[in-house]
């Protein structure tokens, strides 16, 4: 019996390897020669990710390191001042610390609050309005937006081609051949897609390695009772839906959210439910950063929602919260801070 199991395992493994080789010949991406495979570990309790590195973009140390260098390189922007990391700062869980709107090229503001970056491989769509359907093409939006990095794709590729260091790094990651936008985007995806945050106190409690305090436990129960958990669904703390939470339109930004993408009236003022992971580090909140603190957000749901037929039924009648309940909820939300993630040196600026 045991022997059979070993044979099965061996056979399965061989089959798997044979198929990997066979499939890789059929045009799907295969890991470049001489690269070192990196494992993408799915945290316990997480669903299967939407983005599958193994299918189109094999994760390697070389690809990851190239993506990391690109993420921190100002040359991806027109004037050199706006690398990806200018709006996505690690100490703010890769949001922009203390800024409602971020700053871009030529003293301009962005129109939305920079989202925190983590667990992106699970996101079916990117952006507050879900306009971007694949993590690989996400960097093109800030890169080409005139009020963000303000660059042109061809110009960036030209700059990278002229750099001997980048030529070496691209060859190391993807083999010989010209630098192109596809390789740049796949490398960036390897880096940002690897940013998995799943080591907060909440996760440790779930794994049986820690215990909530009484206040945190009460807050966790309230998080369910008050139906926060429907939209901010565990373990990713978002259900990836788009909802109108009763925020009046900011007339100077004129941002109608999801409607810009779908052209549907019913999507007016709907925005993506953001993950609450690391929420204590990602203030201000909301698609335009109009709430400075978690207290402000809770006050909005408690007594600020501007009711209308368009507002999501879960919050239309508001979610009245006492001062005590807010305290407990905040206690629970503080357990979503993943200090190991924000201190992880492999995501920091390369030296």
């Amino acid at each position: 019996m045991r022997q059979g199991r070993i044979i099965w395992t061996t056979c399965s493994l061989i089959t798997f390897i044979v198929c990997l080789i066979a499939c890789s010949k059929s045009g799907t991406e295969k890991q470049a020669a001489g690269t070192h495979a990196l494992a993408f570990t799915i945290p316990a309790g997480f669903p299967a990710p939407v983005y599958r590195f193994e299918q189109t973009n094999p994760l390697t140390r070389e690809g990851f390191e190239l993506g990391r260098k690109l993420f921190y390189d100002g040359r991806l922007s027109k004037d050199g001042n706006f690398p990806c990391s200018s709006c996505h700062q690690q100490f703010a869980a890769f949001a922009t610390y203390d800024h409602d709107l971020s700053h871009g090229f030529n003293n301009q503001f962005t129109v939305r609050n920079a989202p925190a970056l983590s667990n992106l491989a699970w996101m079916p769509a990117l952006q507050w309005d879900g306009g971007i359907n694949n993590i690989e093409v996400q960097p093109l939006a800030p890169l080409t937006a005139p009020n963000e990095m303000a660059e042109d794709i061809n110009t960036v590729i030209g700059k990278l081609k002229k750099d001997a260091g980048y030529n070496q790094l691209f060859t190391a990651a993807f083999g010989k051949g010209e630098i192109n936008s596809q390789k740049m985007l796949k490398a960036l995806t390897q880096f940002v897609g690897s940013m998995v945050s799943a080591d907060a106190k909440y996760d440790k409690v779930k794994r049986g390695e820690a215990k909530f305090t009484a206040a945190e436990q009460t807050g966790y129960a309230l998080f369910q009772q008050k139906k926060c958990a429907i939209c901010h669904k565990e373990p990713l703390f978002t259900d990836f839906s788009y909802r109108n939470t009763g925020l009046p339109l900011n007339p100077s930004l004129k941002d109608y959210g999801r409607m810009h993408i779908t052209n549907k009236r019913e999507d007016s003022l709907k925005f993506k439910v953001p993950s609450l992971r690391n929420v204590y580090l990602t203030f201000p909140y909301g698609h335009d950063g109009r709430f400075y603190s978690i207290e402000d957000v809770l006050n909005h749901y408690s007594n600020g929602v501007q009711a209308s037929a368009m507002v999501d039924s879960l919050v239309r009648n508001r979610i009245p919260l006492t001062a005590e309940e807010k305290y407990y909820l905040k206690s629970f939300l503080s357990t979503l801070t993943d200090t190991a993630f924000v201190a992880n040196k492999s995501f920091s600026q390369p030296q």
């Binding site: 019996m1 022997q3 059979g4 044979i7 099965w8 056979c11 399965s12 061989i14 089959t15 798997f16 044979v18 198929c19 066979a22 499939c23 010949k25 059929s26 045009g27 799907t28 189109t56 973009n57 952006q127 306009g131 971007i132 359907n133 694949n134 993590i135 690989e136 093409v137 093109l140 939006a141 890169l143 080409t144 937006a145 794709i153 061809n154 590729i157 192109n180 936008s181 596809q182 985007l185 796949k186 995806t189 810009h260 993408i261 052209n263």
Partner: protein, 260 residues
């Protein structure tokens, strides 16, 4: 016995998985290639006359305009033979025709020697490719045919100017795309080759089929597109669908040239 069953199980599993891979291999290789060369050249015209970039044209509504950019994607090419067989060009082949760049206006195919009666193709990029992440070659977003804020390919692009446009610098800009229903602008074009007078090809020969692309078709039939009212359109939706309906009728197979 049990061991035998285990081995058999492994073998079946391996065979199944290999077959799954094989299937993918086949779809990648496309239809069997033949031994004569057919070049399909897309010629930009205005109602039968060659298009002169930056010269003034007049559309059906009598509106003057000039053209600076005229680009579109061609994919899913089929050549139907009189014997009922179809030469299907590899579905992973996408061609970006930039009418301002002569080197990009010809698609070179090597179908088998037969008598062909019909050419068909899609204008645009299928929905699957629109959601498949970073692409390269004709689909490289650096070609300026990709929307970065609402992921998806611009299937066809017409840019220029008109004194009737109220946009900055009197610009006219039609960036037509959208792959999600009900706003999927991918259109299939079917062109009979009989008008070219010759449909059979000799083995080893080179032939050039000229297909004209009439810019004026963008503005007329079945929908009237008035520059004065809509000088710019660059989002998916109803208007994009209408313009795509118009330009899907812009092609005509005009001449076939044989080079022995």
């Amino acid at each position: 016995m049990r061991l035998f069953r285990t081995y058999t199980g492994c073998f079946v599993l391996a065979a199944c998985m290999l077959c799954a891979c094989q299937k993918e291999l086949h779809s990648d290789t496309g239809t069997q290639e033949g031994n004569f060369r057919l070049n399909i050249r897309f010629d930009p015209v205005v109602d039968g006359r060659p298009l002169a970039f930056d010269a003034t044209n007049t559309n059906f509504s009598g509106e003057p305009y000039t053209v600076k950019t005229f680009k579109f994607y061609i994919s899913q090419i089929d050549l139907s033979a009189t014997d009922g067989s179809v030469y299907r060009v590899n579905r992973n082949n996408y061609y970006l025709i930039n009418e301002a760049d002569l080197s990009s206006t010809t698609i070179s195919l090597t179908p088998p020697t037969r008598s062909y009666s019909q050419l068909s193709f899609a204008i645009g990029v299928d929905s699957a490719r629109n959601v498949s992440g970073a692409q390269t070659g004709a689909l490289d977003p650096a070609n300026g045919m990709f929307w970065t804020w609402n992921s998806g390919y611009i299937m066809a692009k017409l840019e220029g100017s008109s004194p009737l446009s109220g946009a900055p610098d009197n610009r006219i800009e039609y960036h037509i795309g959208g792959f999600k229903e009900p706003y999927n602008v991918l259109r299939r074009v079917v062109l009979p080759l009989s008008s070219t007078g010759a449909v059979s090809f000799q083995s080893g020969s080179t032939n050039t089929l000229a297909v004209s692309a009439n810019v004026n078709a963008w503005f007329h039939e079945p929908y009237e597109l008035r520059i004065a009212k809509t000088p710019v359109w660059m989002t998916p939706g109803d208007t994009a669908l209408r313009i795509a309906q118009n330009y899907s009728r812009m092609f005509t197979a005009t001449t076939l040239t044989r080079n022995p």
